[in-house]
Symmetry: C2
Subunit: 123 residues, 2 copies
Amino acid sequence: MNELINIMKALAEPVRLRAWYALREGELCVCQLITVLGLAPSTVSKHLSILHQAGLVQSRQAGKWVYYRLPRTHEKGYVDNIQRELFNVLDEDVALNEFNKKVMQVRKGNMEELCRTITRKRR
Amino acid sequence: MNELINIMKALAEPVRLRAWYALREGELCVCQLITVLGLAPSTVSKHLSILHQAGLVQSRQAGKWVYYRLPRTHEKGYVDNIQRELFNVLDEDVALNEFNKKVMQVRKGNMEELCRTITRKRR
DNA sequence: TACTCATTTCGTCTTTTAACGAAATGTATA
DNA sequence: TATACATTTCGTTAAAAGACGAAATGAGTA
């Protein structure tokens, strides 16, 4: 039950649900997630670690950057089912569709530039 | 999205998940829920109101007693799907099976007596 | 009407959660 | 080796959530 509770807790938070949903169409660098979520790097990092701990996302390091993605398939099969069901619901959500536009923008943009924007903000 | 978040938040809490699961096999009086959950009446009442607000349970009053139950079917169909999926997982859960034994005990027991036990505790 | 009693509401306390900035980490590059 | 810089960790603060008991509510009964 605790495992399920962790998964539910992880997704029962708007920021994390958005972050998770943003990965639906492929991996994203942390700086891209920081940008679309509009929160401080440390805050986003924490959220991602909670999603990671729940087994809902995976990460890989590539040079300076860390990319997060959805697992192709989850260890426990039921998580796949829940994910499918939730995505079906969220795909119809107006607010999330709006958010998704931002994600698509960021996917197209230049990542080096994005990171520099974030670094500049921090001073 | 907010609706979904409310549903997830409601179920992402062990006490509420147990309460909700306890109703799987039919309605229960509040005093029965208080007993199986082992918490103060006011605490249980609050949890039930959160489940109710999320649309996950319904209630009816019968004399002094208030009974809570699962809706036969949810307004939004996707909730039925999620519920089915979660129940499938929870049915396999060892801790919940243990809990379910208590629920079955309480279902068989005398309700008047149960309530009196609770009232006695309060003094 | 007055009383009993199951449940809910209210006020309070404690714990948990989410946000941030500063500092630490660790990789790539000058 | 020193530096730059993306990300994470740590410490702090503010807000939310969960627990309880006391008091309020509201339905049945004497």
